[in-house]
């Protein structure tokens, strides 16, 4: 199955773009399947089903969404293969912006929209920096110059990616995205593949449901920050 990871900040249009591109692929006789990793809740499953794309939605709930994603990747891949898909997509809600779901050897797509602040490309970090394709949505709502400046900022963060503007509502550009997706690497198994960016280190007392504030409740992998000029400065 050709494997594609899709990441991007909330509400940037990932699902619209992916669903439309999948529609194009399916029309050309290449069945798709999407696994959506989300944190708390999502209606994206309905959106994919409405577009005729098989989907499975998984919620991380109280867990770190990135760890939840990594620990469920083999099963997600297996589900895609079992559903008969030739192209399998894994869409994440941008995880927590600290991480990137992109995998070495699989096609990595980042979706970002033109309405976010000018510093957004920098803020969302690894999921943009590690992507092969950057899809920019909502370009119809801004000026030509803004699109170009925004593109420039994206380019500063990722020197290598192909950057394309796509309209998730009208589907303009989705056929071209589908053409790229159809060329994603064909993969037998995700086992032993590697993430392009490491996960956050954790396992502290708060991971185990501690809610109280204070040094004496903090155990495990704890990192203390330095605050300039404060009484706690080292």
């Amino acid at each position: 199955m050709r494997l594609i990871t899709v990441a991007g900040p909330p509400s940037c249009g990932k699902t619209s773009v992916v669903a439309k591109a999948c529609g194009v692929l399916q029309e050309s006789g290449q069945p798709c399947a999407v696994v959506k990793f989300d944190c708390l809740q999502s209606r994206d499953g309905d959106l994919y089903r409405a577009a005729g794309v098989p989907v499975s939605v998984a919620f991380s709930g109280g867990l770190c969404p990135d760890h939840f994603f990594a620990t469920n990747l083999e099963e997600a891949f297996a589900w895609g293969v079992e559903s008969g898909a030739q192209v399998g997509l894994i869409e994440t809600a941008g995880l927590c912006n600290r991480c990137s779901p992109h995998i070495r050897g699989a096609l990595a797509v980042c979706v970002i929209d033109n309405l976010m602040g000018i510093d957004a490309p920098e803020k969302i970090g690894p999921m943009l920096r590690m992507a092969d394709i950057v899809i920019v949505t909502k370009g119809d709502l801004v000026s030509q110059a803004e699109r170009e400046v925004y593109r420039y900022r994206i380019r500063q963060m990722n020197k290598r990616a192909v950057i394309r503007h796509v309209n998730g509502l009208t589907g303009q550009g989705c056929a071209e995205l589908a053409a790229i997706m159809a060329r994603a690497p064909d993969i037998d198994s995700v086992t032993d593949m590697k993430l392009r960016f490491s996960m956050p280190a954790a396992v502290c007392s708060y991971c185990l449901s501690e809610t109280r504030i204070g040094g004496r409740y903090q155990k495990g992998n704890v990192k203390k920050a330095k605050f300039a000029g404060g009484v706690h400065a080292e």
């Binding site: 070495r104 050897g105 096609l107 033109n114 309405l115 602040g117 000018i118 092969d132 394709i133 370009g139 709502l141 801004v142 000026s143 030509q144 110059a145 803004e146 170009e148 400046v149 925004y150 593109r151 420039y152 900022r153 380019r155 020197k159 290598r160 990616a161 192909v162 950057i163 394309r164 503007h165 303009q172 550009g173 071209e176 053409a179 790229i180 060329r183 994603a184 690497p185």
Partner: protein, 270 residues
Amino acid sequence: MLSEDAGSDVQDAQHENRVYAPASMTLTAGRDKSGRPEAADVVFRSGEITALLGPTGSGKSRFLSDIESLACGDTPTGRTLLLDGRAPDADERFGLQGRLVAQLTQNMNFVLDMNARDFVLAHAMSREVTDPEAAARRVLDAANALAGEPFGPGAQLTQLSGGQSRALMIADTALLSWSPVLLIDEIENAGVDKRRALDLLLASDKIIVIATHDPVLALSADRRLVFEHGAVRSVQTRTGSEEAILARLEHMETEMSRVRAMLRAGKALG
């Protein structure tokens, strides 16, 4: 394959500021809404203005969209876009998508959280111009010459009025945009001096296509495409008697502007 080390991607990234600018562009004859063939191909050349005329729903937007999407017989009209007489192959087509054509549409506002100078400077830098500071000053000056009420370099983009935003967009597109083809939708509604706007855009030597309902703009274009039922019905150029009509309309517009300016300034009309 778009793998991590694909050479074509690196080239794509490095060359994105150098967009191929065709000397001519052709939209081949397609079909109207009933499937009847269009009469002839339409050829565009740089530095030339084409006005699109016709009632709403007559096919002007579809025509613009065929250009923007580099149609290759895959749109409802069946038209194909040729650059310098040749249909771009799939890779070229994809590479040019979103870059061949710049669009100035109505009802657009800035959304970025930057001031005017920083924004234009960033745009100039993204275009790799030799002196971004000077280029930014030229754009701001040009924008202020178009806008009714001038704005300073420190003005936030989001605080600009509709007219000021459009003036900045037009100046920026004319002086900094890399796209060789410019599509303009009803510039007469921009709240700027449309003649100066057009002169500024024309100086940039692009292929310019304007959808308009304004008689002065329509008559001042090099030619007019008249749409009906989804297809180009006729191609017209200005006749001798139309020259006289254009001159009269321009005179009327000048008079309108003069009276408007006096009323705005609270002066007596005598």
